[in-house]
């Protein structure tokens, strides 16, 4: 932690950055975001397995964008979302100082055990950072090995009717608080499509139709872009298993387009490009 605090103080003192976004502790087994603007605040910085938040999400905010330079504490998984923001012209590399943290794993959202997302992680060691802190962690999965999400299996094993019933039940609790959208580092539209009413593509009411359409469009807009940080599901007050949707599309992108998001800032997200020989078995 000394390292982190020291680096933060250095950055703040030298005025290299106007703001540093990191973690502070929140109770014994918790952590929450911390906006650091002076060295005194920097003292509070921590990093541990409770640091679940993807702080890159704050980089999309206009007031943060307006700053000259911002430092952000980020795990490898969070950096994948930064890579996507870079590739989509949402951040300027020069305006962000990334304090990459090596990370063996974080806890699951309920605070018990290893987070599921860490079992498929290929970037325990940050792949893009201005400084990397922490001891290197051995990578368990090769970069080119396709990721498979075990929790999808149950869903995939269901019949179509069962899946329909499953999701209708889950989505009935959606209150359309848009926590999923707001917490997502890649939902950065100035005006979300749900707030667009000519035409009103998505019913804004939290009725079955609106909830279904909203969750379709959210997943669809993340198709090929989601980097599996799991924030949407974690912040959902209604405990809707949103990552099932994201992960299903991640697998599709992997299977059909050989694509995994958030590793290479030079590559284009799969839905903005194509190969002539793309699979089209489903087209008559």
């Amino acid at each position: 932690m000394q390292e982190l605090v020291k680096k933060a103080k250095e950055l703040i003192e030298s005025k290299e950055v106007d703001l540093l976004i990191g973690y502070q502790s929140d109770g014994e087994k918790g952590a929450k975001p911390l906006f650091v603007k002076n060295t005194q605040q920097a003292e509070k910085l921590i990093f541990n397995q409770y640091c679940l938040n993807n702080l890159v999400t704050y980089l999309k905010r206009p007031d943060v964008k307006a700053l000259k330079k911002v430092a952000v504490v980020a795990k490898g998984c969070d950096i994948r979302s930064f890579v996507m923001l870079l590739s989509e012209n949402q951040v300027s590399r020069d305006a962000i100082f990334i304090i990459g943290m090596t990370c063996d794993h974080v806890v699951s959202p309920d605070g018990t055990g290893e987070n599921e997302k860490c079992t498929t992680c290929k970037v325990h060691n940050p792949h893009l950072a201005d400084v990397v802190l922490g001891a290197p962690v051995p990578e368990k999965i090769a970069k080119d090995k396709p990721v498979h999400y075990a929790q999808l299996e149950k869903l995939n094993a269901m019949s179509q009717e069962e899946r329909w019933a499953f999701w209708q039940e889950e989505l009935s609790r959606c209150i359309r608080c848009y926590a999923c959208r707001q917490a997502c580092p890649l939902c950065y539209c100035e005006r979300c499509i749900v707030d667009f009413n000519t035409p009103q593509w998505i019913d804004t009411r939290s009725n079955p139709r609106g909830n279904f359409a909203w969750n379709i469009v959210r997943a669809l807009h993340l198709a090929g872009r989601c980097i599996n940080c799991g924030e949407c599901e974690r912040v959902c007050p209604a405990n809707i298993p949103l990552m099932l949707l994201n992960q299903s599309l991640q697998e599709e992108a992997q299977e059909k387009f050989a694509w995994e998001a958030g590793y290479d800032p030079e590559s284009q997200p799969p839905l903005t490009t194509f190969r002539k020989e793309d699979d089209e078995d489903f087209i008559r």
Binding site: E88, N89, Q90, Y188, C189, E190, R191, C192, I193, F196, T198, P199, W201, H221, Q268, P269, L271, T272, T273
Partner: protein, 658 residues
């Protein structure tokens, strides 16, 4: 408040037979916003159009729906009428109740109900349409003709004669195409070279025509009036400007290979011109057979060249030309005998294609016009011609008729009999199609005066028995099997789309059919246009044609080009994308998916000139209105005018149940 008029057409009985038009008009009145509706027998007629125009004025219509035929048919007609009545033409939409309703359904109730729905959808759309202005774009007054056969030559000459510069791109090292290899032509029996060569010279000498031979199209960008073509000039190893065409090199070259021009019946050198009258009369080196280029030996041509025009290190070059219009006259190829295993599959030299036969009888051919059969040089005493080889045979080869074989086979029987007065010639045929000026007379002359014996039936197999070729087939007139011993068999093999045509079509963004022939915008009314504005077609690129047809089409396409390029600017439909800069976040999705590179990032700065953010910006001149950008935009900040989300959504919404 929208004031919509609905005009329901009977199209005589075409629509009225399956759709209760009066009911459609009546029900339309109940659609919110519709203030006027009427049905009429022929809406596209002058009185019909007057009806629309008068109603626009009288009822102060803000939008019009014409329920009639496909918009591909008459959208332009009615939009023009709307404009004349003072209504923005984009405020008129058509409900397609003919092609997509009355003609495909039988039941009156279903047809009527569907028509009402289609009208309602378009009313809802047009209510949300916004007036659009056409976009005026400058025109490059230059044309490109792809293909230097007789069709392309004619097109290039006619365009150039109209004062428009032309770039004529030819795949081979000389222009002239297939016609340059023919002996005499039907039905006049005048010498092909004699009538073609002057045209080749004329086009070569025309000050406005630039011939780029041994070249292919690499890439095409842009749009009507403003194309930018990248042409690959294939490595020729001969500096065309330095070379004088003296011929020393090809006389001295030690390598002999089969000549493509002679259809493999004669030889050429590794440095060669395809035929003596070639234009440009500059040789090229065949890199696959040249000893210098393959084995780094020889090099004689370089040594003997008086103008030092040989460059063994020549590479493909790329040149870009900007043109306003393009004529595609890429011609055809004929199927080789090797495609027909049942007819010997190319294993018997004495089974030849008709194009080979042309060279065998041609005075400038490999035998200088002495008819000798390829295997042993013997004068063929009996020749069998087989028609429809590969044509009209949907089970094995092509379903279409190659159109010209009937005529040239008749001609070839005559050419044969003129050479071998005592010779026998037989023609296996399915039908004789001779529908052209003086064609029927010509065929009858072959049959009645020139001694060609026509046998109606197909050939089942051809084989060699001793010295003879044996043709086995059926004579369906006598209902018997027939076996003809002969010295030479000429197969009138099918005309096919040439190799690489699909790739070319894809580069140009034009359509082709299942055979690979390019598709016209309309088979009857727009026969030389493609669906892509500014690109025209002529000759055998479309389907098999004879010389007069091809030449006429070359001229027709040229007329289209001249019409297009006669103006300084071109009006382009206002259906282009537009960005909402307030909500765009510059994620570049639209930029990445745009097939025309019509979108770029634009900086939004504050008053101090400091960069605030970046947004997408559409160049309306480059935008072709495909709309691929819209669904790629998560925040719907880019919309295709004329097909905005709200307009299409209104169509869907119009289908919600009552």
């Amino acid at each position: 408040m929208a004031r919509i008029g609905v005009f329901v057409c009977w199209c005589g009985s075409n629509i009225a037979e399956t759709v209760e038009v009066s009911k459609v008009a009546e029900v339309s009145k109940s659609i919110p916003g519709v203030v006027y509706s009427v049905d009429y027998k022929y809406m596209c007629s002058d009185p019909g159009q007057e009806l629309v125009k008068n109603a626009i004025k009288e009822y102060k219509l803000t939008g019009v729906v014409v329920a009639s035929c496909s918009p591909r048919m008459h959208e332009k007609t009615f939009r023009k009428a709307a404009l004349e009545a003072g209504l923005n033409p984009y405020m008129l939409e058509m409900a397609n109740i003919r092609e997509q309703c009355s003609w495909v359904h039988n039941n009156m109730d279903e047809g009527t109900q569907k028509s009402i729905d289609l009208v309602r959808m378009m009313v809802e759309k047009v209510k949300r349409n916004k007036p659009l202005d056409d976009i005026s774009i400058p025109v490059t007054k230059k044309a490109m003709v792809i293909g230097g056969g007789v069709t392309g030559i004619q097109a290039a000459l006619d365009i150039a004669s109209g004062g428009i510069p032309v770039v004529l791109v030819e795949k081979e090292s000389s222009i002239g195409g297939k016609m340059s290899a023919l002996d005499e032509t039907f039905p006049t029996l005048d010498c092909s070279q004699c009538i073609l060569t002057p045209k080749m010279v004329e086009v070569a000498q025309h000050p406005l025509v630039q011939i780029i031979s041994y070249a292919e199209i690499e890439k095409l960008e842009g749009f009507v009036g403003n194309f930018k073509a990248t042409i690959r000039k294939k490595a020729r190893y001969v500096d065309v400007d330095a070379c004088t065409g003296c011929g020393t090199c090809w006389q001295k070259c030690p390598v002999k290979v089969d000549s493509e021009f002679e259809q493999g019946l004669g030889k050429r050198k590794a440095i060669f011109i395809p035929f003596p009258q070639a234009i440009p009369s500059r040789p090229r080196i065949d890199a696959e057979n040249c000893l210098k280029l393959t084995k780094d030996r020889c090099g004689i041509c370089e040594k003997v060249c008086p103008t030092k025009a040989i460059h063994y290190d020549d590479k493909d070059e790329f040149m870009e030309v900007e043109v306003g219009a393009i004529v595609v006259a890429t011609g055809y190829k004929i199927m080789p005998v090797s495609a027909f295993p049942e007819y010997g599959g190319g294993q018997y030299p004495d089974v030849v294609t008709s194009l080979q036969f042309e060279r065998m009888v041609c005075a400038s051919g490999p035998t200088l016009g002495d008819l000798k059969r390829p295997s042993d040089g013997k004068l063929p005493e009996t020749v069998v011609f087989v028609k429809c080889v590969g044509s009209r045979d949907p089970e094995h080869y092509h379903s279409y008729c190659s159109k010209i074989c009937c005529m040239y086979v008749a001609k070839q029987t005559m050419l044969y009999r003129h050479k071998v007065h005592h010779g026998n010639c037989y023609v296996f045929y399915i039908d004789v199609r001779s529908n052209g000026k003086n064609y029927e007379e010509f065929v009858r002359r072959a049959q009645e005066q020139e001694g060609a014996q026509y046998i109606r039936g197909r050939v089942s197999s051809i084989y060699k028995d001793g010295d003879d070729m044996v043709v086995e087939g059926a004579d369906t007139l006598t209902n018997s099997q027939i076996k003809v011993k002969c010295d030479l068999v000429v197969l009138a093999t099918a005309m096919e789309a040439p190799d690489g045509i699909k790739q070319l079509a894809q580069k140009l963004g034009i359509g082709y059919d299942q055979h690979g022939f390019l598709t016209e915008a309309h088979p009857k009314l727009r026969p030389v246009e493609t669906a892509t504005a500014g690109i025209f077609l002529a000759g055998c690129a479309l389907s098999p044609r004879d010389i007069p047809d091809s030449v006429s089409e070359g001229s027709a396409a040229a007329a289209k080009v001249l019409g297009l390029l006669s103006k300084d600017t071109l009006d382009k439909e206002g259906v282009v994308a537009i960005v909402n800069e307030l909500t765009c976040v510059g994620c570049q999705n639209c930029i990445r998916v745009c097939p025309y590179n019509a979108i770029e990032l634009k900086d939004i700065c504050n008053r101090q000139g400091e960069l605030q953010r970046q947004v997408a910006h559409v160049n309306p001149g480059l935008c072709t209105g495909c709309g691929t950008c819209t669904p790629s935009c998560p925040s719907r900040s880019i919309e295709l005018q004329g097909f905005r989300d709200t307009e299409l959504y209104a169509e869907i919404n119009a289908l919600a149940e009552l």
